[in-house]
């Protein structure tokens, strides 16, 4: 009896499985099934899901739009800037004149410490100061808080994207955050580390004040400097600067050019965490008050005398990449001992892959807010490009072919200068480009909004979702709207400003797809007679399997009882 029922149960299971398969998709059993039964009937694929609701986004979070105009503060001529959030002109004035030479109301409109940039003594009598003291601190961005899930001080590189980072920043005062309620970093604390400018021949005292919790140094990459206690390499020239200590670097650079500075402690970690910046030595000229820091890089609002002689505008372009497997480690623990182990010994850069690609500290679409190269026709624009990533940068300009004027701070012989639209820049390399906006079919193809980006395709994404990465634009001014943002003829850019887009929750073309051709497909629903039958058959199959298992159980139980009986005999 029992054997018979097990046999019949097994047989039913097989029959039910076959019925279920036929009901689900007979072609799974035999691909040429239609030879016998004819073509399958039309089954409508599921409807599209409704388009997701996108919260209202802020395209330009403008705070001081009046800062965009030209200023004259304390005799410093500050060029207009077309950024959504332009550099604070009072800060620019304080950097040009020195925080010791500006009046209190100017300094009060910045968050700089009084001793951030000290400029004194016109030694050569050429109308500009020659003893320059520059103080930099080390700040953490998007770090962990022992009390809160949010990161502090927070810095968004793209909508909803807050990777951990460290930066060199001008010495500041007051709170790290913009106020007590918001954890947002004050604007001096940001990626990239601020570009530093000095004049050739200046007595520069660069003081690293290590406000961070790890040891650091400064290596003046490519800048003329003596070796001893000055090269920033812990294995050769000097001891590391520990937390709470400072180190004084003294230089008198003889050669002008676009150089770099970076931390040389555990370089594979500290460099990639963001402790790298442009260091520009300007040519020595009379009355040459250079803008010591250019916070956030981008447009230089007070270019040096030599740059102004040949160019209408100057832009600092600092490219960086972020591997969240490294950068977000600082968000996993608050204990520096654990962080030191995770970052220096457990993280392996040889297995690393970059996730985010930054131009001047932000990824698209935030590059539109502050890293547009805004031009007029027939201008010469100087672009100082630094590749701070660990891969080659393939910098491509739409509609323009720029001319290279310097490699690693050394001028290219004018006869040998090349003009091209993709420049490959190796890691840590700098190139100076002359972007000439003359509509001659070579240097420029005319007015418009022209993209400017790394053509290594991963770099135009935010963690794989495009458009993102280091995409920016060469934009002719008439294409800017009143918020200093591009008004193009293409798709609506607003969806890119919502965090959901980069989480992959919005269909890529949702905003331009009125027909809903590319909306997300919905799931299958139970709607036909055979669907209903299929589910019932599956239910029956479950029942049969349950009975089979219980038969198996009673069999095992009987065996156990028999064994026990035998023992007790």
């Amino acid at each position: 009896m029992k054997k018979y029922s097990v046999f019949s149960l097994s047989l039913s299971a097989i029959i039910l499985s076959v019925i279920a398969l036929i009901l689900y998709d007979p072609f799974l059993l035999y691909p040429r099934f239609f030879d016998y039964i004819g073509m399958p009937g039309y089954q409508a694929p599921p409807q599209s899901k409704p388009k997701p609701e996108v919260a209202e986004v802020t395209v330009c979070d403008e705070q001081y739009p009046e800062w965009r105009k030209a200023y004259n503060i304390g005799g410093v001529n500050i060029q207009p800037s077309d950024a959504c959030n332009p550099d604070n002109p009072y800060e620019v004035a304080a950097f040009v004149l020195g925080t010791n030479n500006v009046i209190m109301p100017v300094l009060m409109r910045t968050q700089l410490a009084d001793d951030a940039v000290i400029k004194t003594n016109d030694i050569d009598g050429d109308g500009d100061p020659d003893d320059i003291v520059i103080r930099v601190e080390v700040a953490e961005l998007n770090g962990r808080s022992p009390d809160d899930e949010g990161f502090i001080p927070s810095f968004d590189i793209a909508p909803g994207v807050q990777p951990g980072a460290w930066v060199f920043a001008p010495k500041s005062r007051g709170m790290s955050t913009i106020n007590r309620e918001e954890m947002k970093a004050n604007h001096l604390l940001r990626l990239p580390s601020a570009p530093i400018r000095v004049e050739a021949g200046d007595n520069v005292t660069l003081i690293l004040e290590n406000t961070h919790y790890f040891p650091h140094t400064i290596h003046l990459h490519g800048v003329d400097h003596s070796y001893s206690n000055n090269d920033g390499v812990p294995q050769t020239s000097e001891k590391m600067t520990m937390p709470g200590e400072q180190h004084v670097y003294k230089i008198k650079p003889r050669h002008a050019g676009t150089m770099m500075y970076h931390c040389h402690v555990q370089v594979q970690v500290h460099f990639m965490m963001g402790l790298q910046g442009l260091f520009i030595v300007e040519e020595n000229k009379p009355n040459n008050w250079v803008q010591t820091f250019n916070v956030g890089a981008g447009k230089v609002r007070q270019p040096s005398v030599a740059v102004q002689e040949s160019f209408e505008q100057e832009y600092d372009m600092h490219y960086q990449a972020i591997d969240t497997a490294l950068n977000n480690l600082i968000q996993t623990s608050n204990d520096p001992r654990q962080l030191a182990k995770k970052m220096n010994r457990l993280y392996d850069i040889t297995d690393g892959t970059d996730d985010y690609f930054l131009l001047n500290g932000r990824s698209f679409p935030y590059t539109l807010r502050e890293s547009l190269v805004s031009v007029e026709a027939n201008q010469h624009i100087k672009m100082r490009v630094l590749n701070g990533t660990a891969e080659v940068l393939a910098l491509h300009s739409h509609g323009h072919k720029a001319t290279i004027t310097a490699n690693d701070g050394v001028d290219v012989n004018p006869v040998a200068q090349v003009t091209r639209d993709v420049y490959s820049v190796s890691p840590a390399q700098r190139i100076d480009l002359d972007l000439y906006t003359k509509d001659d079919g070579l240097h420029s193809y005319g007015e418009g909004i022209w993209l400017l980006h790394d053509h290594a395709e991963r770099a135009i994404t935010n963690n794989g979702i495009a458009p993102g990465g280091n995409v920016s634009q060469i934009i002719y001014r008439k294409y800017l709207n009143k918020h200093a943002l591009p008004s193009g003829e293409g798709v609506d850019i607003r969806p890119y400003f919502s965090p959901e887009y980069y989480k992959g929750e919005l269909p890529t073309w949702a905003a331009s797809d009125a027909f809903g051709f590319f909306d997300d497909a919905g799931g299958k629903t139970i709607k036909s007679f055979s669907d209903v039958l299929l589910i019932i058959v599956l239910g029956m199959l479950m029942g049969v399997l349950f009975l089979l298992f219980s038969a198996l159980y009673s069999l095992l139980h009987d065996i156990a009882v028999k064994l026990k009986d035998r023992q007790s005999l």
């Binding site: 209190m104 022992p146 009390d147 005062r173 007051g174 709170m175 007590r180 520990m242 400072q246 654990q338």
Partner: protein, 208 residues
């Protein structure tokens, strides 16, 4: 009329606060208050002094911190005038900033002392007529997170703030591995055996 009065009051407060700001190449003291009485205080009832030293030296007793104060809790009675002497023992910037104070005395509720490097500065504030615990810290973000954080209890305070070194625990806790050293493992085994045998003993004894 009331908003107008409030606005006037604000202007007076703010101008007062600006007058109370001292700044130089040494650092700054902001929103000091040595004379204005907090609401509900009849008079200055006590005079106290407070010595706050800041530096990495003071992180030593608390593993996992890098910066600290010589003391992480300060207690005062209500309506007390406190003269703070703030000393920075590092070659970098440090702050002693108290938050949440009455904003009619301190704009943004903040009393702020900052030294750009080694040095010493004095500043005065008057404790309000409340029982409250105030946060005092160095607002260089990573200094707060890495130990430079204290609490000021006025009138006994209203409990502890989180993650004050030596006083209270973290809300967003760090996790650590289990130590597999000989002593720790031995202690672990002994305690486990103790628990195991006591439960066995209990059930056997119960059955009898």
């Amino acid at each position: 009329m009331k908003p107008l009065l409030m606005a006037l009051l604000l202007i007076v407060c703010c101008s007062h606060a600006q007058a109370a700001m001292r700044m130089g190449d040494w650092g700054m003291v902001m929103n000091e208050n040595s004379t204005q009485l907090p609401q509900g205080c009849e008079s200055i009832e006590n005079e106290e002094t407070l010595l706050v030293k800041a530096g990495r030296e003071y992180a030593k007793p608390y593993p996992g911190t890098i910066f600290g104060y010589n003391q992480h809790e300060f207690s005062f009675a209500k309506c007390t005038r406190v003269e703070v002497t703030f000393i920075n023992e590092d070659d970098i910037r440090h702050q002693f900033m108290i938050h949440g104070l009455p904003s009619y005395l301190h704009p943004q509720g903040m009393f702020h002392m900052e030294l750009y490097g080694r040095g010493e500065v004095r500043g005065i504030f008057i404790t309000p007529n409340t029982e409250q615990t105030y946060l005092a810290h160095c607002d260089i973000a990573q200094h707060t997170e890495k130990g430079m954080k204290a609490q000021v209890k006025v009138g006994g305070g209203d409990g502890n703030l989180p993650s004050i070194p030596g006083i209270s625990g973290q809300l967003n806790r760090d996790s650590y591995e289990f130590d597999v050293g000989f002593q720790n493992i031995l202690l672990l085994i002994v305690l486990l055996v103790l628990g195991f045998s006591s439960s066995l003993f209990f059930f056997i004894w119960h059955k009898k």
